[in-house]
Structure formats: structure tokens, C-alpha cells
């Protein structure tokens, strides 16, 4: 008998779909001079004072494990930050967990909550990790298709329609990647109304919380009456402080949820990177101005890019969060994958097809504006030239 490692792979893993952008990525990687608006991370590099804090920690020889849940000082700073920026109170000792990026926190929350057969409600289009992680935990992803006419918000009607007695958790990914949609206080109150008399947990992925462009700051659903105990708030340093490569995030929630999450974390990861944790302390203590500066810059670009798409005839609702816009390409008659592939081959411009974020993203493009103004202008010119052939 011939031994086949392939046959030994867990069938859930084997059946996970490959990345929705693999083909485009491969084409783009083989080309020279590609102008990309296709990346989901800041173009800024981590502010120097934060990088320097990481370097100083290395100079002092702080190279060992930290406690599982993270440095006491950092957990305290996270608690201070959550209070200062979002008016949420957490006890650093048992309600804060430092993770390897927001991604690990999402994985831990789902694994700590979901049992085989449990349904997890996932609004789409959304970041690509919730569905596979739910499947890996034996859960059943239930996709809630948000609509362009609702500005890609999750509506209480859509939520209510999909709640069953098997529903275990709702993922709330706002501000949203890829649409740039946000949920304001009123929107969240309507969602809370549906959930209040249920046992449904909320995993609120608020990694873009610092990047909203409305007068009112980002509101967490944990702040809405009756939602605090059932909500795991996930946030991190990647987007707010341009620290993607440091791989550092955190989760805050009820001790009875954070505790079990720490259990998985200690077996799977041990602790988040020590150098990153020291840098993050500096970020939380002295980084509020960095956030404001980067946000101001993103906001300029946001206006420029939304205006650019609308002017060339690709309708683009005004995204009020994150650093993406999500223009509609329905008028071109092309699918989002066709559009992106042709655009790449003909104009060397790389964008991500909306359908890669879930089927209701079809007919749209995800366009990142985490790029310089000159770069954005150049890309817009190319897209305009391209679509003039179709509309």
C-alpha cells in the first residue's frame, strides 16, 4: 500500500476553498511596474518612537516569554485605551488578552464559543477568515448578505431572518473590510434589540475602529445596553498604528469568555511576541497623535478616490470607515473577477474583486486607499481609460 499524506489531511481543511485572489496575485507578481490598490494594510510605517521602544526592549535584553495573557503593563494600557477612546471598562487582570494580531483573537473567540453544529452568523462581504475558522471549529457559517442599497450595513431584518435556535454567535466586522461600511450607534441599537432576549454571543471585530470619518467616533456594540457581557471586542495595533508586521492584537470581554480564550492561547501560542508587546505599550501611551495624523491623511485620500470613481461613472457609496472604497462595476457588464483580470493585463492595475469577500460582493471592486495621493491619481487615470471601453 502506498502511503498518501494527502489522504491523512483533515477533510474540513482539505475542503477549504483556496484564496480567492491567488490567480490574480500570481499574474500580478509576475509583472513589472504594477500599480496596486489591492493591499489591506497601511502604507505608513510604524512611527519611529514605537519602533524605537521595540529596539530599546531588545537592548535591555527583554527577549523572554511574557505571561500567557500578555505583559501586565500592556494589559493595563489596553484597559486605559479602551476606556479613553471607546468608553468601555475592562479589568486588565481577567478581561484583557494580548494576541498575535487581531486574527488570533478571532480564531480564539470562535474556538472558545463554537461547538460542532452551532451556527455562526457572518455578514458578507467581509474579511475572509471568519468562515473557514468557523468550519474548522465544526460550526456552520450562515452568511448574511448585506446590500449596496443599505450601504452594506447589517440590518435588523436581515439578522432576524437568519436567527435560529442553533445560532451561537454573530460576527460583527465593522468598520468593514472590504466595503468601508460602518455601524453607528443607531444601527447597533437596532441589532442589540434583536439579540437582547437571545443567548447569541457577539464577536465584534473592531480592528478599524480608529479609522472612521464621521463626527461621532466609532461606537462598539459592547457599549449598547445589554450587550457588554455577550460581546468579545477584538482590536489590535495593525491598522491604527501601522503595525501589521508586529503581529499584535487583543481581545476584551467577560472574564468567563476571555478565560477560556486564554486557555487555548496558552496551549497554541504561549504568548504574543515580547518585543511587539513593549512597542505596543509605547503606542498606547504616546500614539494618539499618530492615529490622528494618519487618519487625516486617509480622509483626504478617501475623498479623492470616491470622487474619482463616481466621476468616471462607477457608483461608489461613501465609505465612512477603514481605508477601502467599494465601487460598483455593474454598468460595465463584467464580473468582478473578469474586470480585475482584464484591468491587470491591460493597464497593470491591481484591484481585488468584490466577490473574493463573499458572493454579495460580486459587481464591486475593493479599492484600498492606503497609498500616496500621486499613486492613487495615477491608478484612477488607468481605471478610467480601461472602463471607457465598456461604458
Amino acid at each position: 500500500m502506498k502511503f498518501s499524506p494527502k489522504k491523512q489531511i483533515n477533510s474540513v481543511v482539505a475542503n477549504l476553498p483556496p484564496s480567492g485572489i491567488r490567480k490574480l496575485f500570481d499574474i500580478a507578481s509576475g509583472m513589472d511596474g504594477v500599480i496596486s490598490l489591492g493591499i489591506g494594510e497601511p502604507d505608513f510605517i510604524t512611527p519611529w518612537h514605537i519602533r524605537n521602544a521595540g529596539i530599546m526592549s531588545l537592548e535591555k535584553g527583554r527577549t523572554q516569554y511574557t505571561s500567557n495573557a500578555g505583559l501586565v503593563e500592556l494589559k493595563q494600557e489596553v484597559a486605559n485605551y479602551m476606556k479613553r477612546r471607546f468608553d468601555l471598562s475592562y479589568e486588565p487582570n481577567n478581561q484583557v488578552l494580548i494576541t498575535v494580531g487581531g486574527s488570533e483573537a478571532i480564531d480564539l473567540a470562535i474556538r472558545a464559543i463554537v461547538e460542532p453544529g452551532d451556527e455562526v452568523l457572518i455578514p458578507i462581504p467581509c474579511f475572509v477568515c471568519y468562515d473557514p475558522i468557523t468550519r474548522l471549529a465544526g460550526g456552520v457559517p450562515v452568511l448574511l448578505e448585506t446590500k449596496a442599497e443599505d450601504n452594506f450595513k447589517l440590518t435588523p431584518e436581515l439578522l432576524k431572518k437568519n436567527v435560529t435556535d442553533k445560532t451561537k454567535a454573530l460576527i460583527l466586522p465593522f468598520p468593514n473590510n472590504p466595503t468601508g461600511a460602518i455601524m453607528d450607534r443607531k444601527d447597533l441599537e437596532a441589532i442589540a434589540e434583536v439579540l437582547r432576549d437571545t443567548n447569541i454571543m457577539i464577536i465584534s471585530d473592531e480592528i478599524y475602529a480608529e479609522l472612521t470619518y464621521t463626527d461621532e467616533r466609532h461606537v462598539s456594540i459592547a457599549e449598547i445596553d445589554g450587550m457588554y457581557d455577550r460581546t468579545v471586542v477584538i482590536n489590535g495595533f495593525s491598522k491604527a498604528y501601522a503595525m501589521t508586521g508586529w503581529r499584535l492584537g487583543f481581545a476584551c470581554g467577560h472574564p468567563d469568555v476571555i478565560g477560556p480564550m486564554i486557555k487555548i492561547h496558552q496551549y497554541a501560542i504561549m504568548c504574543a511576541p515580547t518585543t511587539s508587546q513593549y512597542a505596543a505599550i509605547e503606542a498606547l501611551r504616546f500614539g494618539d497623535k499618530d492615529i490622528e495624523d494618519m487618519k487625516t491623511e486617509y480622509n483626504y485620500r478617501r475623498k479623492l478616490i470616491v470622487n474619482g470613481f463616481n466621476k468616471m461613472g462607477l457608483d461608489c457609496f461613501e465609505p465612512m470607515g477603514a481605508f477601502y472604497c467599494f465601487p460598483s462595476i455593474k454598468r460595465t457588464g463584467l464580473s468582478s473577477e473578469e474586470f480585475c483580470e482584464k484591468l491587470l493585463l491591460e493597464e497593470k492595475i491591481a484591484l481585488v474583486p468584490g466577490v473574493a469577500f463573499g458572493r454579495s460582493g460580486e459587481g464591486h471592486l475593493r479599492v484600498s486607499y492606503a497609498y500616496s495621493v500621486d499613486h492613487i491619481k495615477k491608478a484612477l487615470e488607468g481605471v478610467k481609460r480601461f472602463i471607457s471601453k465598456y461604458i
Binding site: 496575485f25 496596486s36 483626504y300
Partner: protein, 159 residues
């Protein structure tokens, strides 16, 4: 409206149309504001930042500390004016501390700068002393990193 100045200071390629979109004004309003700034001398010019070190052109830059005697009623203004009229003098600042004026002087060679300092600047009757420091290497100029300009090292596409 300082936002217009901040935007232009960082990127002089922006058109009034771009700026208008970015700050929710009309292009006319932006054009009007810019011409007002120009009239008032708030916007005084546009230049390109060049790293001459990479352009195979030997350019010598010197930073010169000048001690001088202030003049009755005019302080250092007239002396500064006499300095900045020279085209070799790129910048002139009045300083607090151990000396009075700081000059940045550029020339094609060490000798050229040295003879300019000893022949033109030092002999001025109000000048008490000068101290010339030659620049050996420029790392950052006008807020721009010259040696290691930031490069986009991100993936070409990612979620």
C-alpha cells in the same frame, strides 16, 4: 484654510481640483485662496528637492556660524540682508545662543566656499567672527530622507 498650505507643502503636484475634493471646497475657492496666499507672501515659491549626491554633481554645503555686532535701530536685519543677497547663501537664520546668524552656503568646491567666506563674508565690518562647518553627508533634507527613500515593500495584493 491652513489645510491647503499643509497639503501643498507636502505635495506641490496637487491641483486646485484635487485639493477642492479633499477639503470639501470648490476649485474656485481653492484657487482664490492660493492666489491670496501668493499675494500675501505666505506661499513664496515651489522647488524640487534633489539629492545632488546621487546626480554625480559635486556640491559643497557649509553651515556657517556668524558672530556680529547688531546695528542701532535695525538689530541684525540689515546684516542678514547683506548676507542673503549673495546667491551662494541658501539660508539665513537669526539664532539664539552662542552666535548670532546661521548661514547655509553652497558652492561647487571646498575652495570656492572657503574663498567666499574669507573674501566676502568675514571682511564685512559688522562681522566679529565666523566658524565654518562643511557638510560631509546629507541624510535628510527638507523632511525628506535622502539615503534610504521609503520603498513600498508590501505584497502586490492582500486581503
Amino acid at each position: 484654510m491652513h489645510r491647503i498650505l499643509e497639503l501643498l507643502e507636502n505635495n506641490s503636484n496637487l491641483t486646485p481640483e484635487d485639493i477642492a475634493v479633499m477639503i470639501d471646497k470648490t476649485p474656485e475657492e481653492v484657487r482664490e485662496a492660493i492666489s491670496q496666499y501668493e499675494k500675501e507672501g505666505v506661499i513664496v515659491g515651489k522647488k524640487t528637492i534633489i539629492n545632488w549626491q546621487k546626480a554625480d554633481k559635486d556640491l559643497v554645503t557649509a553651515f556657517i556660524e556668524v558672530k556680529c555686532t547688531p546695528q542701532y535701530g535695525r538689530g541684525f536685519d540689515q546684516i542678514a540682508e547683506r548676507f542673503y543677497q549673495y546667491e551662494q547663501v541658501k539660508s539665513v537664520y537669526l539664532m539664539s545662543g552662542a552666535y548670532d546668524l546661521a548661514l547655509i552656503v553652497e558652492g561647487n568646491s571646498l575652495t570656492e566656499v572657503a574663498s567666499f567666506v574669507s573674501g566676502k563674508l568675514a571682511p564685512m565690518d559688522t562681522v566679529i567672527s565666523t566658524c565654518t562647518h562643511f557638510v560631509l553627508k546629507k541624510y535628510k533634507d527638507n523632511g525628506v530622507m535622502l539615503e534610504t527613500p521609503p520603498k513600498d515593500e508590501r505584497q502586490v495584493m492582500a486581503f
